[in-house]
Amino acid sequence: MRRRVHLEKASKTFQDVSRRWFLQQCGIGLGAIALHDLLPDSTNAAEPLAPKRPHFEPRAKRVIFLFMGGGPSHLELFDYKPALAKFDGQLPPAELIRGYRAAFINPNSKLLGPKFKFHRYGQCGAELSELLPNMGKVVDEIAIVKSMVTDAFNHAPAQIFMSTGTQQFGKPSLGAWVTYGLGSEADDLPAFVVFSSGKKGPSGGNSNWGSGFLPTVYQGVTFRSTGDPVLYLSNPSGVDAKVQQESLAAINRLNRLHRDAVGDPEIDTRIRSFEMAFRMQTSAPELMDIAQEPQHVLDLYGAEPGKPSFATNCLLARRLIERGVRFVELFHESWDQHGGLVRDLKRNCLDTEKACAALIQDLKQRGMLEDTLVIWGGEFGRTPMVQGSTDGRDHHPNCFTMWLAGGGIRGGVTLGESDDFGFNVVRDRVHVHDLHHTILHLLGFDARRFSFPFQGLDQRLIGVEPTRVVEEILA
């Protein structure tokens, strides 16, 4: 168990009021309190981060979203198109690109055949790129959706769309919605944690994990994989743990004296916030200390203590959800291959695919995969047409691939089909809103009823257009 330092015994008088107040206001929930029902049109407003029961029995209790920023090429990774190889160097059929808007290229650019070989893996025999040998080992655990469709084809808007269901800024992210709906089971860590690795930061910036019109307690908290995981976690220079403890004890004593004078239970929230902050100063470094992991686990992920990487973040994601964190999102912004397709895809897969597979294996070994939903994907796919001479692809919203695993997902399924060029979806289309609908469903929500009143409307993650649960990939 983690070390817990109580600075002082809380006085009895205000304890009940203050606990309620704390839960209402604080960025972190209490683990050990009773579940509350989620009301159909709002959560229990008094205790926003208390663990809550969703509409029905959930299949997944927590989520790890591996967000591959930039838009990975489905054509090189998951969606093998022999015809594209055959027509390499030829112009696409005119009717295919009629009315098509491309970001950079002239849509009437030559087709580019897939750059890598594909193999069949696992009992399900799913086809994966040669770049994904480790994913091949867990392919029977994942459901591959080759028929994803999105609305936007520029990075920032498309990422915001994937994260919030709209291209407009100011809407809550998926992680914020989930935290709003389910509360948190972590008692000394934020409910929703975000990491960033790769070449750049995410194009959509912090709006990818914003709380929008939901209370800000639901927004994601960014962690770093080296140094202070949370900003200002370390004491100032010269201040040791004892000073910190004595200082906090003094602060809380003074706050308590003042509370007794003025009677505002908000002060108890402040006292608890300071206690929690102090606990986090111990628990967060402990969480981040992956050197505690046995060597074979480090090897499984390809993580090295002290070295920031996507692999380290995957391992940290597991450690976080073990500690009750509800939603962990890893951004890896490296997939925008307008050029350098071959070189960069090799690099990116080396950087990520082993750790993705390890995460699934590790969760499974620990019995956590069954109620942890793991999602992999980017904001869009890439064009079958070339950008540049022979080694790049442009943004493409009409068709791309994502995969899901764990929490209620049927492993070994491949859903959907694209046309011969991997340009349009021809079967089992899954729009981003359908994906959101399905994720909420797995977490126990009726996505149509899961709403928050704002600006006179019952706002929902899935918007107003008809959406569906993608039943085909459910276990």
Binding site: A102, T216, H258
Partner: protein, 1042 residues
């Protein structure tokens, strides 16, 4: 919110002690015992029915409309949805009360909750009472209600008290006693100027026993320059102010003139109607001043996406939607956003109405003119006057100057080179987008790559091509007006290259060799400096003579930097080919404009790209016209038709060619060299050719439906304009006296700032789906009061802070807390944690570090560097750490990157400026504790507070601790509190003396430099005090308005 409304409704009980009865006109009737359509019925119908039976034609079911009485009571198949007076015959009631899932409304699958039995009874009673109908309260203009009477007569100090106390009485509550004076003055300081009072100011107030002591403090604070900073920040939330573009690139932008305009305007107590008019249409006012143009930055505060691969028009439209949203929330207090995609489901506001409003705004350039500070303006005036004086002197000395100038002009002759404009098209990638203008030039927009080649092709049938002319034009949509896309409108043309290909035989190609280059202007050779460097800081080379553009070198380029004040002008260069570039039978020209001299980081403002340009060819060897384009266009006007100003302009050019005036010309050049560098600013500038606005299918800019003309929706007040309606007319309409929501919206937000919640809790939405007001009559009274006082805020502030309601103690007993946890009825004073900026400002002010300078560029206080680097940030950003006192400025001046919010501000819920915010959330989190405990600047505050306490000539710890405590919270500590502090001080002293702690380590500033010391105080003592002061700065009370 819905739930809230119902619970109050259910708990509703008749109130004996009514405010003055009478007509229920105005803001409604939350205090009335009879069923009110507006308060009780309309919210139910709106929430449960209007989505399918409301104003939206497209989503209406069964052709039934319930938002208008005539429709709701119209006969249908022998009955009607509502038969007034006859609930049992009213289909509506049957449906609402039904238990059969096929019959009941709202349908179970709609996700809407069925009515409770109590609510059904309420509808029944209402129908029984004849189903009286009235408009939603917020759509009737406010009228001044009479003052209510109250039993708490002795507590009435301003009319506000009468309203609040009467309501308290009705609730069976009693007001709290007055707050103690130390608490009160601190509350007043925090509310009016956002800064805590110094100990001396508190003492002065405490010892001032005169009856108007408090009122005088109020006057002084309202006159303080810091008043505008405190209240300006609230407006900047609504104006979604930030110092960067947002989206992926999130480049810095210069917009702080707008921020300072807001601060200054509020300090001057500019009438709110004027304040709005200038922000929406200041540029259209007659003889608009720089300030009035700067004010239009309000609409320009939208985010801007310049990532590669975008269609700039798509994101201009997104910015337009954002502007509509901002006007809706901040000025009207109404949600307009829905109209972007569909008819409003709850208000009589159609999609067409939305785009008619939109059309008022849709005719502006996204302008970025150069603006000057007050000092720069007077310097500039001085220089220009001096130049004018010298020119007059030349004219006086030369009585026949007009004749000589005319001779010069006739000697110039006309331009005879037969230029043919090429129709060039982009043949490179789609990073930077080019928009063809009517004059054949291209305007570059969107992503601005650096260090790149722009390639264009054109086909021509000219049989002889000996010269190529590159013209650069200014354009309102370019930074500083262009002609380049650099932040100051500059360019660097590294190379001008042309390849000619025969149209008839594409195998025939020639690389055109240029032998001569001329330009109307080239700057003297100049080494490029930061930010035009590589990542290691090495300069991108030299710009200078136009020959640099044909020298085959990428690190030399044509530059046109004529210095501040004269930089942004149309220019031209002409390149002469060694031999004819044309092929018989047609020539395809590939023209490369090599622009290799920007900086390395294309995600920052480091480009030197051409902004608007045109290319022509001529069959003869030609030189660039030495006469500037602006002068040339005057010369085309017959001399007797030229204005004095035009004549003066020609003179200013002509004099530079007169040999004997060399000395005067040199003096003038010297003056120009002292011309101040301005700053660009995002503003509006109306286009001469209007844009047509269309209704857009689901808000998609590629799917225009019907064209619309500017106009306002019928459910709001009438629109008045002579002639074609303009943006200025729209601005005036927004603040018309009969606007039902404008004044209410702003007084509601002023109230919210004082009491933590508005009289309407949904300040962004006063419409039918917003919360009903807690004190409707007070809201109306304040709205009318505002307008009657010439829309000035300060009289409203005075009314509020002089009220006894405001001056109540915020202490609360558990029972009283349970009775009204949200303090909705105001039986006690407001108590809540202050806004993020004020948290920051309190810590700096209390410790004496605060730099109180008002206005100026945004500042860069200490922040973790990794935030500005990958992979935390999309691209590397520059955070130019301030070290010489500017890091201690108020938080309103902290530079705001939208994608990387300053962490201490973000932790305390400051908005990032991505959209208009009229109500901040207010959280209390462990991350906030980490910020105030450990953030380096805040730790410096602890050191400074320690220094401040130790330099006092004092009798000992007790007095010093009392002083430090009072710096933070104004009041004196209790004995218990002092004991805690003394114990802590002793403990830390002991640990330091015992060498368990290192004072040197504790006494480091935010940049790791040794902190300032106090003469005669040893480091151990200063360190111990620092640790104690840190505790004081972390008290809940320190960051709370008590």
């Amino acid at each position: 919110m819905t739930k809230h409304r119902f619970s109050r409704l259910v708990g509703f009980r008749p109130v004996a002690l009514l405010l003055l009865s009478g007509s229920l006109a105005g803001a409604g009737d939350a205090d009335s015992p009879v069923i009110s359509f507006r308060r009780d019925v309309l919210p139910l119908l709106s929430e449960r029915c209007f989505a399918c039976h409301g104003p939206d034609d497209d989503s209406r079911e069964a052709d039934l409309r319930l938002d208008r009485r005539a429709d709701a009571t119209a006969p249908r198949d022998g009955t009607a949805a509502i038969v007034p007076g006859k609930p049992d015959q009213s289909e509506l009631l049957h449906r609402l009360a039904a238990s059969d899932p096929d019959v009941v409304m709202p349908p179970p699958d709609s996700g809407k909750k069925p009515l409770t039995p109590k609510q059904v009874t309420l509808i029944r009673q209402w129908i029984e009472q004849g189903a009286p109908w009235s408009r939603h309260w917020a759509y009737e203009p406010p009228r001044r209600p009479p003052l209510p009477t109250t039993g708490f007569r002795d507590r009435v100090q301003t009319p506000i008290d009468a309203f609040v106390l009467a309501r308290l009485e009705a609730e069976g509550l009693a007001p709290a006693s007055r707050a103690d004076r130390a608490t009160l003055i601190r509350r007043l300081y925090l509310d009016l100027i956002g800064l805590p009072p110094s100990v001396e100011e508190v003492d002065a107030f405490l010892s001032d026993t005169s009856s108007d002591a408090y009122a005088r403090v109020v006057d002084r604070l309202l006159d303080s320059p810091h008043y505008g900073e405190r209240w300006g920040r609230i407006w900047l939330d609504a104006a979604r102010y930030a110092d960067s573009d947002g989206f992926e690139k999130d480049k810095p932008r210069e917009v702080w003139f707008y921020r300072d305009w807001v601060i200054r305007s509020l300090n001057r107590d500019m009438p709110y109607d004027r304040f709005i008019i200038e922000q929406i249409a200041g540029d259209l006012l007659p003889n608009a001043t720089q300030d009035q143009i700067v004010a239009t930055g309000f609409l320009r505060n939208s985010m801007l996406n310049e990532e590669g691969g975008i269609d700039p028009e798509e994101f201009r439209m997104q910015a337009m939607f954002d502007r509509m949203d901002a006007i809706g929330k901040s000025v009207l207090g109404l949600t307009l956003q829905c109209g972007q995609c569909h008819h409003h489901k709850y208000e009589p506001f159609s999609q067409k109405d939305y785009y008619r409003l939109f059309a008022f705004l849709n005719n502006s350039h996204e302008a970025q003119p150069v603006v000057y500070t007050r000092e720069q303006q007077s310097e500039r005036r001085r220089i220009l006057n001096e130049i004018a004086r010298i020119e007059r002197e030349l004219q006086n000395r030369t009585p026949n100057w007009r004749q000589r100038m005319a001779e010069w002009e006739s000697a110039l002759g006309r331009q005879t080179v037969p230029w043919t404009v090429l129709e060039i098209s982009n043949a490179g990638d789609n990073n930077q987008r080019y928009y063809r203008q009517e004059d054949g030039s291209l305007l570059a927009q969107g992503y601005a790559p650096t260090r790149f080649d722009a390639t264009f092709t054109a086909t021509t049938n000219e049989s002889e091509i000996r010269s190529f002319r590159l013209e650069l034009f200014t354009d309102p949509n370019l930074p500083a007006g262009g002609p380049g896309r650099a932040v100051d409108g500059q360019i660097a043309l590294s190379e001008f290259e042309v390849t000619a290909t025969s149209v008839t035989d594409p195998s025939r190609k020639k690389v055109v060799k240029f032998v001569r280059a001329t330009a109307d202007y080239s700057n003297p050779p100049k080494q490029l400096k930061a930010p035009y460097t590589d990542a290691k800081g090495k300069s991108s080379g030299v710009i200078g003579p136009v020959e640099y553009a044909i020298d085959g070198k990428n690190d030399t380029g044509w530059g046109i930097d004529a210095g501040p004040g004269r930089r942004n002008q149309a220019r031209q260069a002409v390149f002469v080919a060694e031999e004819n570039a044309a092929f018989p039978g047609g020539t395809r020209l590939t023209i490369v404009l090599s622009q290799r001299q920007g900086g390395w980081n294309s995600d920052d403002n480091q480009n030197l790209n051409l902004g608007r340009f045109r290319i022509s060819v001529a069959p003869v060897e030609a030189d660039a016209d030495p006469i500037p384009r602006a002068i040339r266009s005057i010369l085309r006007i017959p001399p007797h038709e030229r204005s004095d100003e035009q004549i003066a302009k020609v003179f200013s050019y002509w004099r530079t060619t007169v040999k004997e005036w060399e000395e005067a010309n040199r003096r003038i050049e010297r003056l120009w060299s002292r011309h101040p560098e301005g700053t660009t600013q995002f503003t509006l500038q109306e286009r001469t050719t209007p844009r047509q606005t269309f209704v857009l299918e689901r808000g998609d800019f590629l799917k225009p439906l019907d064209p619309v003309t500017p106009g306002t929706p019928d459910f709001l007040h009438a629109f008045d304009a002579d002639g074609p309606p303009t943006r200025l007319d729209f601005a005036r309409w927004l603040v018309a006296r009969d606007s039902p929501t404008t004044a209410r919206s702003i007084v509601n937000r002023i109230w919210q700032a004082y009491f933590g919640r508005g009289l309407v809790e949904t300040p962004e939405d006063l419409g039918t789906t917003g919360s009903p007001p807690s004190h409707p009559r007070l809201l109306d009274w304040l709205a009318v009061e505002l307008m009657d006082h010439g829309w000035r805020w300060k009289p409203i502030h005075r009314l509020i802070v002089m009220s006894s309601v405001y001056q109540q103690s915020s202490h609360v007993s558990p029972a009283a807390f349970q009775r009204d946890p949200d303090n909705r009825w105001l039986a006690r004073g407001p108590r809540f944690r202050v806004d993020a900026e004020i948290v920051h400002d309190i810590l700096l002010a209390a410790s004496g570090l605060l730099n109180r300078k008002v206005g100026g560029r945004s500042v860069y206080p200490p922040a973790p560097e990794f935030l500005f680097q990958r992979p935390a940030s999309y691209g590397p950003k520059t955070w130019a750490y301030d070290r010489d006192g500017e890091q201690y400025r108020r938080a309103i001046y902290t530079f705001r990157f939208r994608s990387v919010p300053h962490p201490p501000l973000q932790a305390f819920d400051a908005p990032s400026g991505e959209y208009s915010t009229v109500k901040r959330p207010r959280t209390n989190t462990p991350l906030q504790a980490l910020v105030t405990l450990n953030e380096p600047l805040f730790f410096e505050c602890a050191q400074a507070l320690a220094r401040q306490s130790l330099v006092r000539p004092s009798k000992g710890d007790r007095e010093r601790l009392t002083y430090a405590f009072r710096c933070c919270v104004a009041r004196r500590p209790t004995e218990d509190e002092l004991r805690v502090l003394q114990e802590l001080l002793q403990t830390q002293r002991r640990r330091i003396q015992g060498k368990q702690l290192d004072p040197q380590a504790i006494l480091m500033d935010a940049y790791g430099r040794p902190a300032e010391r106090v003469a005669g105080v040893d480091d151990g003592e200063l360190a111990a005090w620092t640790l104690v002061c840190r505790v004081l700065l972390n008290l809940d009370e320190t960051i709370t308005k008590e």
